[in-house]
Symmetry: D2
Subunit: 329 residues, 4 copies
């Protein structure tokens, strides 16, 4: 460990990062000192509880008093603002709905950066535009703090059971410190590269997932129309080059698999609205980097139309139902 840190230090010096090493080292070594947590929603709340379960004192805040109260009852200290969190903790995790919230929580009038201590490690697990992650990292660096993006895959269930996957972007020598905390909340932690690449990995995966899901839905629908048995068709695809996660692990056709949303009227799972949001991020990112994403764009449009046609809160695999002929016709 010491050797590893020596190596990191050299890297830091070589790369000329403006981070005060003395602070970094003192923080990283004091592992059970308090951890700050901002954003106690459906995901953030179970994540914070898992930190408490692992023996970390948690100093938390949220705009909704009820969310704060609930966490307080499980042992967290609640403060008023993100700035207050920053005053009391030198490791802070944020879990927020979208880019504007992240900007507000970090750079707003009561934001973390108003009172952040030098060397503080800031880990943002929100799913946002990687460009915003980069902005936040720059703003943090100016205050002598370190910002990493660490969006998750996995839903509320995975958050409760500490089974999330974290995709982490940021300076490599901070990765160990981040990993120490993230492993309390997740089963997989993957280092992706510079700041923003965690978001990039998340967005890329979900874009390909969306494409595979719509593709599976229209393929299964076509096959059924042509007289194929759905289970047999799924089996053939899964032993062939058409295989994908949506065909073999989350088949959208009712009756093909057990224990997936299609077996339960598309309840639970990953809502169409959330998928549309992630595809919006992918689209913005692709537009801003001038990257053509023809199928990703069309997938975005399809889930967007579905949100307007009554599918907003159903699992995104309900695209199979959306594309089927109505029964009355």
């Amino acid at each position: 460990m010491a050797a590893l840190f020596r190596g990191s230090r050299n890297l830091l010096l070589r790369w000329n990062k403006h981070v005060d090493l003395a602070f970094v080292l003192s923080r990283s070594m004091a592992s059970k000192t308090p951890v700050g947590f901002v954003g106690l929603g459906n995901m953030g709340s179970p994540m914070a509880k898992n930190l408490l379960r692992n023996g970390y004192p948690v100093i938390a805040t949220d705009v909704f008093p009820e969310s704060c109260k609930e966490l307080q009852e499980t042992g967290a200290q609640v403060v008023d603002t993100p700035a207050d969190v920053a005053e009391k903790a030198d490791r802070i995790i944020t879990m927020l709905p979208s880019s504007p919230n992240v900007i507000e929580v970090y750079t707003g009038p009561n934001g973390i950066l108003k009172k952040v201590k030098k060397g503080t490690l800031l880990i943002d697990s929100s799913t946002i535009d990687p460009a915003v992650s980069k902005e936040m990292a720059l703003a943090a660096e100016k205050m002598g703090a370190v910002f990493m993006d660490a969006p998750v895959s996995g839903g509320v269930g995975a958050a409760s059971m500490a089974k999330l996957t974290f995709m982490v972007g940021g300076v490599e020598e901070e990765y160990n410190a981040a990993q120490e905390l993230l492993t309390c909340m997740g089963a997989n932690v993957v280092y992706c590269g510079q700041v923003g690449t965690g978001q990039a990995a998340k967005i890329c995966n979900n874009m390909l997932l969306a494409i595979g899901m719509i593709g599976t839905a229209e393929t299964m629908n076509l096959g059924i129309r042509l007289g194929l048995d759905p289970k047999l068709l799924a089996k053939i695809l899964n032993m062939s080059s058409g295989r994908c996660w949506s065909s073999d692990s989350y088949n959208p056709v009712p009756g093909v698999m057990e224990g997936v949303p299609s077996a339960n009227n598309y309840q639970g799972g990953f809502g169409t609205t959330l998928m549309a949001k992630d595809l919006g991020l992918a689209q913005n990112t692709a537009t801003n980097t001038k990257t053509p994403v023809p199928l990703g764009s069309l997938a975005h449009q399809i889930f967007r139309v579905m949100c307007s046609r009554g599918y907003a809160n159903k699992d995104f695999s309900s695209v199979f139902q959306f594309l089927r002929e109505e029964e009355s016709q």
Copy 2:
């Protein structure tokens, strides 16, 4: 076996199929009697050779004399027309480029059905419109013969090594007889259902394959633009819900995998023209059955444009290259 056939006979009688059972039984049991083969192209030629290797006398024909001559040298008997093949064999396999060829070979002036014997088993391994397969089956039934569609997946290499996968559609009681021959030429034989479902399964698989490939290409491209290492991104996708055959077994990004066309300047593999042809079949089938296939349609258009932009003979995974920014820009 006898019991199975008795069962089949009952089924046949119950279903009132107009096939003369006496002929069917006599043919199926005489397993090393000659097999007819029409269509000795890149795929048909090695398939016919595998029948010879398995001890079946082969009676073959093709419009190109050179193809005939080559097979003759390996022991086949060559005749002039499909009708001549039908006169001499009561099991015939056809492997042709497209629907019009199949129509000609079966129903043309020198076609198989002009001289087909009652009870003959006709197996078409061409990839064509399932509606044409159904037409051929009806025409064969009128002559007392049985038609099955059995398109393949796998390329020239798989054909040579008898590693093809056959997807078979047709009356179930004939499946055993078909399987006996097809296992000489392939590693997997899958029964899909009524006539045309073999084609349906093939078309469905390739449509989803095309969608997955373009999706993988644009996702990998986006991720690379956002700063992710291609190998790392592929690894993340493959352990997550973005996983598909194109990402984990045939990655389109040079440098990510060995032994795939992307590692060899997109040479070999499955040509863009062939993929465009299969997507055209999928599109026609979807249009005729009024089935929406939004991503399948767009995939078709993309491979069609690629055919016009110099990618016709490259492997279809070259869509990654097609979507990349040109280096000079």
Copy 3:
């Protein structure tokens, strides 16, 4: 006129068409001899009545006896089959729902070609695949008859008021003879070129119409969301490069124009099912000629999905409504 015919005759000889000129000339000059009419649906019936109004005896048939009876009451002679029509008339117009009907009416067991007289002029006003028109023309030529395709634009109202537009494909020297009849039923008759080009023109126009309509719908929707007044936006588009028929003559947004389906809850007009059918023809034609039509394909998919979501019988401009956010959300 005589000079023109002399010219035509020379052309005919030069082009080596296998049409017996003596028959052609005798038929074309006898203008008020009976005209055959096959297909007395919503469109065919008013078209046939306009021939009667113009003094032409009409010999008609249809599969529905009621349709025949109604036309009989207005003075037509009704016969049993298309073959019977061919026996009694040497100019025949057909107006049928789709390609299979056309094939049956011309080449079926009781079809026109069973009893067609040499030199008969056959005009098909159905909207079908141009490839089928070409097949019919070849079949007719073998019998010494002349086939032209002449699909219409304009609906039932235009048919009643003889305001249809005919797009005509076929040998140019027959165009005058066709025009004589078509002008009784339509306001515009346009010669498009060889057989099939009438269909091609119709299909092309409707594909671009569909693209323009969806484009207008999504553009108006976006503008409204961005705070623009719909009437003002339509005005700006119509004086700018965004202008198209759907924006300036058939605006899909309720309240922007009077007297269009969007002003009447999308009733009347051109049904989404019919547009989806025409786009299916365009798609098949494009697929078969390997022509990329990315927006045309996507337009097809969108109208196809709309047919499954309750919009089948609404005017196709209801795509505006389909793309709007639902009010309850």
Copy 4:
């Protein structure tokens, strides 16, 4: 005029806008006082010259000294920064490439808002995201200034000949003052509504234009493949419901029209890169307002791919060429 201003004043008071009316009135009435101009590129430079021609003293700046020098020689006063312009002029026009430039020029360290005088009228003719226009308007309002967005349609030629069309968004009572200046540079000035609606109108028009152009290109290509003469097909479309600006005023097929880029190897006109940029704005705006724009999205992707395939600097109607089969195939 006086009456009109009295009315405006009442409106202003009623709407409780935080603009100091005394300043507004004094500025608007002094019509030949200096006008500021920031951004002297291909478009800005001829626009500024037209102000000079109309007798307005111009105080200008640009990041490129050569651009400044050129305008100086035609009589403008050149200063160092946007802030310097703001110090000397109470009416300022900005014409910049993209959103980040606008943000910098208005709110940067040497930006207009650093030294803007109360009541100053700020008119931004850049084509940018309407959300940025709204932000700039808010920032200007805080300084007691008024911001309007006034993007143009028309290229460099129209800019030189003062034939631009301006689409103006902002508070209505300032419209007259803006119009006074804009009419020196353009032939049409259209008031669109609140701040950002000028951008919205521009973006909407260009999105529909892009859709119509690609639609026209693929329709013409399909028709030609089906045997139609291009000029005849264009004529048929233009008298029918397929008509649009791209078919009747800017046809993309060489040989159909004179004096358009397709007649000149797609040189001049409106570059594919610029269209891709505008479609990127439309896409971002649609994504952020959750508006489905399926054809607009696909159009964006197509022009984006074209930029990577050598069409970046050709007129956007070269999409016809992009979709054609290559001659060598």
